[in-house]
Amino acid sequence: MHLAYPAVLAALLFCTGLYGVLARRNAILVLMSVELMLNAVNLNLVAFDVWLRDALHSGQALTLFTIAIAAAEIGIGLAIVLAVYRNRGSSDIDRLRDTAETDEAETLPGDADADDATHGTADQATAPAGKAKKAEATA
């Protein structure tokens, strides 16, 4: 098999994950995109390991370690996202702009007034983030 096929597939998967990390708004979707990027790296490691016929099989061993570290990362990441959601009532990373828990810190700078008009009712439960939602989320 040509080495170019897995290498190109890994590059394209990595860039897909890169787009997801930059463009997504929900923190859990960002975590999914990070998983795609890690998998692209794993595919590269396996392909180059099979090509080089390494006696130590460094590529496959590192792939197993990457998978385990990804599992740890997703556990910690989800715990952090859940803690943030419980404290702020939102997992929208565009609104988490400040370490302080104030209502001003959780509104976007551009659409402070357009927020209620456009996303008011049909939005996910995260839109009117603030103290009112926090009470509901912790209940």
Binding site: G20, L22, R25
Partner: protein, 183 residues
């Protein structure tokens, strides 16, 4: 390295493994695209299953059997389930969500497109004539994996178990609800 000096088969006469690899790769890439672009959050997690399962098939085609099954067990079996739990616990909307993408998605598209073009160009230019020899015994069978993992990689393996324990404790501490300092 092995076959670069010898005449390598061209791209116009693909072997069966290559055809299967490219077809599964197209499915994987399409599922990954849908994962990062769909507006239904739960569908994104389910398309992620397709992408990760496709990658497991690619590992099988590259004769890394053990890693393929580890991929199915850990990624498809536990990580996607964890992500679905996370979506449910943060009350993600089940249906169509209008603002799944943030405002800078065009910048993100530009960055991803530019890096894709650069990476594919460099990779194709570097490995155009490189040939992977897949014949012989499988290099990633469970037998071979156990041998190299517990012969050469024992110490990192044990260190990794300590890291997993630390992650477990950290996740429990982070997600506990009733801490004393909050009252």
């Amino acid at each position: 390295m092995l076959a670069a000096t010898a005449g390598h088969p061209g791209f116009l006469s693909p072997t069966g493994v290559e055809i299967a690899f490219v077809l599964v790769g197209i499915v994987t890439l399409g599922a990954a695209f849908i994962t990062v672009t769909t507006r239904q959050l739960v569908h994104a997690a389910l398309w992620l299953v397709v992408a990760l399962g496709g990658l497991a098939v690619e590992y099988l085609l590259l004769t890394a059997e053990f890693i393929a099954w580890v991929q199915v067990l850990i990624y498809v079996g536990s990580i996607v389930v964890l992500l679905l739990f996370g979506l449910m616990l943060t009350r993600a909307p089940i249906g169509h969500s209008p603002d799944a993408d943030s405002g800078n998605r065009w910048i993100a598209l530009g960055v991803a497109g530019a890096s894709a073009i650069a990476l594919v160009w460099v990779v194709v230019d570097a490995f155009r004539t490189t040939w992977i020899d897949l014949d012989g015994p499988a290099q990633g069978s469970t037998d071979a994996t156990g041998a190299f993992l517990f012969r050469h990689w024992v110490l990192p393996f044990e260190a990794l178990s300590v890291l997993l324990l630390a992650a477990l404790v950290g996740a429990i501490v982070l997600s506990r609800k009733d801490r004393e300092d909050k009252s």
